[in-house]
Amino acid sequence: MKSGSRLERLLEAGEFVITGECGPPKGADADKVRKKAEFLDGFVDAVNITDNQTAIVRMSSIGASAIVAQQGLEPVMQMVCRDRNRISMQSDIFGAYALGIRNILCLSGDHQIFGNHPGAKNVYDIDSIQLIDMVRRMRDDGKVQCGDDIDGLPNMFIGAAANPFGDPFDFRVVRLAKKVAAGADFIQTQCIYNMDKFKTWMSQVVDRGLDKKVHILAGVTPLKSLGMARYMAKNVSGIEVPEALIKRVKGVPKDKRAQEGIKICIEQIQQLRETPGVHGIHLMAIEWEHRVAEIVKGAGLAPRPKVPAQT
């Protein structure tokens, strides 16, 4: 075991895992974090805590992760390269581990132009692949990036993102291979709506044998409304929503569209369970945490498995 985290133990035991996602509040209220996380308790195996997503200032991922950990849920602390240099990142990784955080997701981060401080300076001292490499060396070699020894190892289970819908498509699997080579233990993908394209990408992943080296969790986000479907299709680069899906949401009465979104999500999960190489689901119910139980139950994935004893 690299970290002994619940996520790692379940994946190593061959369980089909579910990770959820929680966006911390735009303020210092710990109860807001607890309330969101409560909805997920018992329905996911670990919960991602986003790091100032879309570059909007929120409670730190490390702070919210620690709160969630105290609640008995397992956090996956997200860390983006936008706001911190290598000194700060490594220091925060030590602090996070000391607070009981065992999973980290290494990301580039949304550009600050999308957020509420577009005039901020960005950092990008290192990129997401270099971050993965740095965390792996901290854990496996006991060295910080400069080569100095570490006193008290941060044994993190290391995650990375993959977007099968970004361009250039043929390079996407290569980029995944680079993340695996850098030391990623698990991958969470961008939300999938174009199932055919995802399956094409997955077959490339399997052809390269990458599914044997890294656990791939397929990203899903339930569509709450027609507006959301259209917004995702048009405004979020790197997300593809097929026209047929938009039509399907549009085809039901307005008050039934949320339910239809959940139905679609459950169908997607079922398809993904049957896709070779997929080891779990990353369920991003954005500001819809209270519907997670329904989705997980609907997909026949509740109750969640017990954590196997550490070997």
Partner: protein, 226 residues
């Protein structure tokens, strides 16, 4: 070249303030090539200031001059007297030129203030007539041999060394559909050069000490020193 952009007239007016004898100083280097701070632009600014002066009923004497390069003391020396006669100098050079002229002007017996007439925008190149684009960040450790002659530091919005990120869509960057994704360009170029293997390995974290992060930089060539 260093690309600059003229400051708005209001900002230049404010910087001049109540001072009466104004020297507008152009530079025949980069900013002439990018049509922002050469002789022609000095003449345009002079006209704008004269019109503004008439409107605001300000009595002002505006003098125009341009020199070969403001980033070389050798060329500033001959216009020392012109600087001395002014109450304020508006330099239309890049930031380096403004600072060089300011250094000379501040050391005069009665010091003269130098204010910038341009915003220095980037190190770039003309992509077509009237369009300049950023190409270099002067990071002090060139990687263009790996990336097929396209700079990820200057041209990727996140300066990623192992890109493209998930925001690359149809050749464009997530920040703006007008901005090309540098990593799509790199990928296409390397594919053309049959060198895609260059970006298939993990490129390690950079040492930024050669960049501005290492503090202000200086280069010494002993063989050229007198």
């Amino acid at each position: 070249m260093i690309v600059g952009e003229r400051k708005p007239i209001e900002e230049i007016e404010t910087a001049i303030g109540g001072r009466k004898r104004v020297l507008l100083l152009g530079c025949r280097g980069c900013v002439t090539v990018c049509n922002s701070g050469g002789e022609k632009e000095v003449a345009v600014l002079a006209t704008e200031l004269r019109i503004a002066g008439q409107v605001n009923k300000k009595v002002r004497e505006i003098y125009e001059a341009s020199i070969e390069r403001q980033c070389d003391f050798e060329y500033i020396e001959p216009i020392r007297d012109q600087i001395r006669r002014a109450e304020v100098v508006v330099s239309l050079a890049c930031g380096a030129g403004v600072q060089h002229v300011a250094e000379v002007a501040a050391e005069l017996d009665s010091p003269v203030q130098v204010v910038p007439g341009l915003n220095t925008t980037f190190l770039g190149a003309a992509t077509e007539e009237g369009i300049w684009a950023e190409r270099c960040q002067g990071c002090g450790n060139c990687v263009l041999e790996i990336t097929g002659g396209i700079c990820p530091i200057a041209r990727c919005s996140k300066s990623l060394m192992n890109g493209p990120c998930g925001g690359s869509s149809e050749g464009k960057c997530e920040i703006n559909p007008e901005v090309d994704c540098a990593w799509q360009l790199i990928y296409d170029r390397l594919a053309r050069l049959a060198k895609l293997e260059n970006i298939e390995r993990v490129i390690p974290a950079r040492d930024w000490s050669t960049s501005r992060d290492g503090g202000p930089r200086k280069r010494v060539r002993e063989d050229l020193r007198r």
